[in-house]
């Protein structure tokens, strides 16, 4: 009896298991295929690609396309490479992520630990902000940015992304702080800590996991955003995604596919890096609300 249950519960047949692994392996390969194509073609001379054989490994290995994509490729009309736009993106993403995360944390703190009349309605409205489609706000937002004198600037983009991100970051931090013991806040109040002291000294030091979630989420979304970048950025504040599009769309001369591949990888690299560095904490942070630590 017990042997039988153990068999069915824990051990599956060898054949089944092999089959499962085989299927998983196939899926994994399938998902890796685009990355493979991008990587191998970004280190080939152009003639190897135009001659056909996209799937082949390079016969001549070269980093030329990478160098060109970074520093000398034609973006629109200027032969600057992606480099200046990379820094544009950084200048936009870092403050936008930092500000939206800090505001989200403060909102979460107030919504859970300093309850006030109408707080659930307010939170509901903020949640609602997560579901407003980008397209709807394009024109009003352009007008607002113009009125504020931020049209075409990096800070204009930062503002747009903060406004859009705050619904999500608030949601994360609110749910995280909802299970944070209120007795700790009360103890700190009795100890004489004020509103911000409680936030900085008690709450934030315990917010690592959810801060990572918020940062990764915001970073990927803002870095990958194309629509706001294309709509609101000026010539000298265009982010990486818009520049990549311009690189690929450049109509002069031959299409340098190897440079395009290299550029695309360059554009994706920061988000990849963030996942590799902090991905473990991402899952942990998402779980933190459900499993009380």
């Amino acid at each position: 009896m017990s042997a039988a249950t153990q068999d069915t519960a824990i051990r599956t047949g060898r054949v089944t298991r092999t089959l499962i692994y085989l299927i998983l392996l196939l899926f994994a390969l399938f998902y890796m295929l685009p990355l493979y194509v991008m990587v191998v073609n970004s280190v080939k001379p152009l003639n190897e690609i135009t001659g056909g054989g996209m799937m082949n490994l390079p016969q001549v290995f070269t980093l030329e396309p990478w160098a060109k994509a970074w520093s000398s490729a034609q973006i629109g009309v200027e032969p600057t490479g992606l480099q200046p736009y990379f820094w544009n993106s950084i200048k936009m993403v870092v403050p936008a992520v930092a500000i939206s995360t800090i505001l989200g944390a403060l909102n979460g703190y107030v919504l859970t630990k300093w309850r006030f009349r109408g707080d659930t309605i307010l939170f509901g409205l903020m949640l609602f902000a997560c579901f407003i489609p980008f397209q709807i706000v394009l024109i009003p937002m352009a007008r607002m940015l113009g009125l504020m004198g931020l049209a075409g600037t990096t800070w204009g983009l930062v503002l747009v992304h903060v406004v859009y991100g705050i619904g999500f970051t608030t949601l994360y931090f609110r749910n995280y702080y909802a299970v944070f013991p209120t007795e700790l806040i009360r103890a700190a109040q009795i100890d004489g800590a004020g509103f911000f002291q409680i936030f900085w000294r008690i709450l934030l030091p315990s917010s690592g996991p959810i801060a990572v979630v918020s940062i990764i989420w915001q970073f990927t979304n803002i870095w990958n955003d194309f629509l706001f970048g294309a709509s609101f950025a000026g010539a000298d504040s265009q982010p990486m995604t818009v520049a990549l599009n311009n690189l690929v769309q450049s109509s002069t001369g031959v299409k340098e596919y190897n440079v395009h591949f290299a550029g695309a990888i360059l554009a994706a690299l920061p988000t990849l890096l963030v996942y590799i560095v902090a991905g473990r904490y991402f899952v942990r942070g998402l779980m933190a609300g459900s499993v009380k630590g």
Binding site: P181, E183, R186, A188, Q189, I190, A193, Q197, I202, P205
Partner: protein
């Protein structure tokens, strides 16, 4: 005026009043325990003293200063929470001195105060650890250290022992009592555990349904409970409360109680005023330890009544044996010596110390005061 006055205080959440006209005056150095079942409003009252909940009406004063609306940190109180509420990101030392830091005490003084408290509570070797690396008992000590270091006027404890296992709970109970005797501080202590209340307190407020049912010394509460609720809540096993009828025998009032069969027994009252209840129904309260065998009956009692009744169940518990019988149609428990010769199903001659028995009005459930 006491040291801590809770003066006709009520608390409402919206339209619902959860504390009704609470009026308690605590003297300096007193150990007041608020005891009652879950949801009776103990924590709410404690939080109102602490300033964590506001006061709907009435006044709370500490050292004659009105505390209504005063911020918790300005009341010179300290609180120990049920979950200990230690700051998880700080070391034990930082936990203990955080309050002093927030009040602007200079660092050398903080360090000295921390050392003194750590020595008092024997937690010196834990000062550099984080709360996560402590056992339940150690956390409890640190939480007390954090309260003690502030040298407050009033200590507030909210069920501080209920997260500990049984053995540790008893040890810490003794320790808190020692600490109180040594420091002579004023304490308000919340618990749902009546044994904790009896052992620790100098006075007890028994609460139920948002009312203070009775305020008195442990002895008063135990011997002269104000009503049926207090009588049955305090004491373990609970006081037996059985229906009885008052009659006069030989000019003295007796309680007539049904035995396991349809026969009755007459238990003479020590309270002569029960004569006024002649012919009426009452509820008779008898503590389990006042029902014994003849040999174990209290020799100092002037009023031992006898009754022979059938034993239903016996439960040996080491030092005592609990015997269940049917009296007045109810299960009644007697607390016997462990070597008493009791067997289920047998008829046994019990001795009841009627000097300790109390009577309640069945309509109001209030004790009939002699």
């Amino acid at each position: 005026m006491g040291f801590l006055d809770i003066d006709h205080t009520t608390k409402s959440y919206g339209a619902i009043e959860v504390l009704h006209n609470v009026d308690i005056s605590v003297e300096e150095g007193e150990f007041l325990v608020l005891v009652g079942p879950s949801g009776c409003g103990k924590s709410t009252l404690l939080n109102m003293i602490a300033g964590l909940e506001d006061i709907t009406s009435g006044e709370i004063r500490i050292k004659d200063k009105v505390m209504n609306g005063v911020h918790p940190s300005k009341r010179n109180i300290a609180m120990v929470f049920q979950s200990y509420a230690l700051y998880p990101n700080m070391t034990v030392g930082q936990n203990i001195t955080f309050g002093l830091e927030m009040h602007g005490t200079p660092k050398p003084e903080r360090q000295k105060a921390m050392k003194d408290v750590a020595e008092l509570l024997q937690i010196e070797q834990l000062l550099d650890r984080k709360p996560g690396a402590l056992s339940g008992g150690q956390r409890q000590r640190v939480a007390m250290g954090r309260a003690l270091v502030r040298n407050p006027d009033v200590f507030l404890f909210d069920e501080p022992l209920s997260n500990l296992d049984a053995k540790l709970r008893v040890d810490m109970r003794t320790e808190i009592k020692k600490l109180h005797q040594k420091l002579g501080t004023t304490i308000v202590y919340v618990t749902h555990d009546q044994i904790e209340a009896m052992t620790l307190s100098t006075r007890i407020a028994v609460m139920y349904g948002g009312y203070v049912q009775q305020l008195g010394t442990p002895q008063e509460i135990y011997d002269s409970p104000a009503n049926v609720f207090v009588a049955t809540f305090m004491g373990s096993p609970a006081m037996n409360v059985v229906p009885a009828k008052v009659a006069m025998e030989g000019g003295k009032p007796v309680a007539v109680v049904a035995l396991h069969d349809d026969s009755t027994v007459s238990l003479p009252f020590s309270q002569n005023n029960m004569a006024g209840w002649d012919g009426r129904d009452i509820m008779l309260g008898i503590r389990p330890e006042t029902i014994t065998d003849e040999d174990a009956a209290d020799r100092n009692s002037s009023n031992i009544a006898r009754m022979t009744n059938r034993i239903v169940v016996t439960e040996p518990a080491g030092s005592d044996t609990f015997v269940t019988m049917t009296l007045g149609g109810k299960d009644v428990i007697a607390r016997m010596r462990s070597d008493a010769d009791v067997r289920p199903g047998a008829n046994f001659p019990f001795a009841v110390n009627m000097e300790k028995a109390v009577a309640f009005d069945p309509e109001t459930e209030m004790r009939i005061v002699p």
